[in-house]
């Protein structure tokens, strides 16, 4: 019975991916910093994007630092606009039907996004592969994992929370540099 239950969970659960090659390629150790402790999923997701794009004001949003006081608890677009203005974080605060275009733009250009995903929940969009139609999402309730969704599954996920995303207006990071003998 237990074995069958485990197989069922494995089959029904979204796929698990590695961060390498994704727009947001944070290692597991860094992602764990943004585990959701108290219903602060919006800030956890924004914080994860902030550390990916090296924006300290956004990366430290969950804690009291020189960049400002911690921002905890639930949020809406207005609250996000307020604390981003206070902390001087440049963001696009997007609601409505255009979130799909913005999510694809962000991942295509090496950026992540804090996205509505799941009922009353925010997660971090890590990447999107248009060839296979695979969306990679990191849930701050389980930051060790990177979940993969197909087009239909991701659509249900994003619509469940309402179409709202936050994209940081900063340059993306380079790929992890390596020595390749090209000369």
């Amino acid at each position: 019975m237990m074995k069958q239950l485990v197989w069922l969970i494995v089959l029904l659960a979204p796929g698990v991916a590695r961060a390498d090659g994704l727009a947001v390629d944070l290692p597991e150790e860094i992602r764990r910093w943004y585990r959701n402790p108290d219903g602060s999923c919006v800030q956890c997701s924004i914080g994860m994007c902030g550390v990916d794009q090296n924006v300290p004001a956004a990366a430290t949003i969950l804690w009291d630092t020189d960049y400002g006081p911690r921002e905890r608890g639930g949020s809406g677009p207005s609250r996000v606009a307020d604390y981003c203005r206070e902390r001087q974080i440049r963001v696009y605060n997007i609601t409505g039907s255009t979130t799909w275009d913005w999510m694809k733009w962000a991942t295509r250009n090496g950026r992540g996004a804090a996205i509505g995903a799941g009922s009353y929940h925010f997660q971090t969009l890590m990447g999107y592969d248009p060839a296979s139609g695979t969306w990679s999402v990191c849930n701050n309730n389980s930051p060790d994992l990177i979940d993969e969704y197909d087009e239909a599954g991701f659509r249900r996920l994003h619509l469940a929370s309402g179409q709202w995303i936050v994209v940081l207006d900063y340059p993306p990071h380079p790929a992890q540099p390596e020595y390749v003998r090209w000369w």
């Binding site: 290692p27 860094i30 108290d38 219903g39 602060s40 999923c41 919006v42 550390v51 090296n54 990366a59 608890g73 639930g74 949020s75 809406g76 677009p77 207005s78 609250r79 606009a81 981003c84 203005r85 001087q88 974080i89 440049r90 963001v91 696009y92 605060n93 997007i94 609601t95 409505g96 039907s97 255009t98 275009d101 913005w102 733009w105 295509r108 250009n109 090496g110 509505g116 009922s119 009353y120 929940h121 925010f122 929370s161 309402g162 179409q163 709202w164 207006d169 900063y170 340059p171 993306p172 990071h173 380079p174 790929a175 992890q176 540099p177 390596e178 020595y179 390749v180 090209w182 000369w183």
Partner: protein, 389 residues
């Protein structure tokens, strides 16, 4: 058991409350389709709801610095003000920057994991990498790794030189599927393109250029050919080896008689062998025998022997038989008509011309022109013929 159910109910309730408070979905719905941009201390509503242009093809310039490093601070200041460095990356204007620019602290635990695969021994270290789009090869490749010696211009030149060297080494990207590369190569091997040799231009010192327009000399007038007043000539070119057959001989004599009759007694007739004639006139061997009609030393007509059977050598005589009797009957019976009038006019002109030829008087137009005029008049008369309704 009851306590257990109570605990589970409390847990579910708390989770539900947490979910309700995490995201304000009501506000999301109230906002509808909206893009709010928060830029520093400002916020604005963007009219265009779509995302900005892609920047995935931008190169990456990364500075790895160290706290308490004077060179690192100088480089940071120089990159915010120096035009040479800003031509490569502008930290103050990322949207218009040629390359993405990132400034990292080696001691920042949130970022230093990025450089664990490379060796950095001095600071600041500048890294240059290709775009993450893959357009210029593997984005992990380090195209340039160097340190800052204090001269922003030198650093910019080093970076540019490295990028150029790297790009030059890149292999051309393979097309996806040779069979799909329609239109890339022609289906045959075209001849190699021959570039015209450049015309050497004289080296001109700009200081030697004279702005004053030179005097324009009048164009030289071509030398006019010597006028041989009143010298019509018929030159009969024959081949001494072939000779003339009796029939050709008679035909040429008829042509000459006709020409003499038309041109008058002033027409000179000369017989010339082809070997001599080809030095003076454009005559081919296969044209011989040929009659050249010249005037004032210039060839006006050339009549080859092949056309002799088709040449009418006798001047046409205009007789009573040439009177257009149908035209006269038309005029008498039905009254004036253009075709009938034209026919009578043609007859009259031919009659006058024939009389002038007979008397040796000069003709107003040559025979070819005269025939063209008659043909034009006849064509005009035909257009005036009324069609029965």
């Amino acid at each position: 058991m009851q306590r257990m159910w109570f605990v589970m109910l409390a847990l579910v309730t708390s989770v539900a409350q947490a979910q309700v408070s995490e995201v304000d979905q009501n506000e999301v719905l109230r906002r509808g389709d909206a893009v709010e941009y928060i830029g520093g201390t400002k916020a604005e509503w963007l009219v265009a709801l779509g995302p900005p242009a892609d920047d995935k093809d931008k190169w990456f310039i990364t500075v790895v610095s160290m706290q308490g490093c004077p060179g690192c601070q100088k480089l940071k200041r120089d990159w915010q003000s120096n035009e040479w460095l800003q031509s490569l990356a502008n930290p103050n204007n990322p949207k218009d920057s040629w390359a993405h620019f990132n400034f990292y602290d080696k001691d920042d635990r949130s970022q230093n994991w990025r450089f664990k695969k490379i060796k950095i021994e001095a600071f600041p270290t500048i890294l240059v990498q290709p775009p993450r789009s893959g357009r210029y090869g593997d984005p992990k490749t380090i195209v340039f790794q160097g340190i800052y010696r204090g001269d922003p211009k030198d650093l910019a030149k080093e970076i540019v030189a490295a990028i150029r060297k790297y790009v030059a080494k890149l292999k051309p990207r393979q097309s996806k599927g040779h069979e799909q590369a329609v239109g890339v190569d022609p289906p045959w091997d075209p001849a190699p393109k021959v570039e015209p040799e450049p015309v050497p231009t004289p080296a001109v010192d700009p200081l030697d250029v004279i702005n004053i327009p030179p005097d324009v000399k009048p164009a030289p007038q071509p030398e006019e050919a010597p006028v041989l007043d009143g010298y019509p000539e018929a030159v009969v070119v024959t081949d001494a080896f072939d000779g003339l057959s009796p029939q050709v001989h008679d035909q040429i004599r008829s042509i000459l008689a006709g020409l003499e009759h038309r041109r008058g007694k002033s027409l000179k007739i000369r017989f010339m062998d082809w070997e001599d004639a080809r030095k003076r006139f454009p005559v081919r061997r296969d044209e011989v025998p040929v009659v050249l009609l010249t005037s004032n030393g210039r060839i006006e007509d050339k009549l080859s022997a092949r056309l002799l059977p088709y040449v009418e050598t006798e001047p046409q005589q205009v007789t009573l038989a040439d009177i257009p009797w149908p035209a006269i009957l038309t005029l008498v019976s039905t009254g004036f008509s253009v075709p009938a009038a034209v026919a009578l006019g043609i007859f009259a002109v031919r009659l006058v011309r024939a009389r002038r030829e007979k008397l040796g008087k000069p003709l107003l137009v040559d025979e070819a022109t005269f025939q063209q005029i008659l043909a034009a008049l006849q064509a005009f008369a035909n257009t005036q013929v009324k069609q029965p309704k």
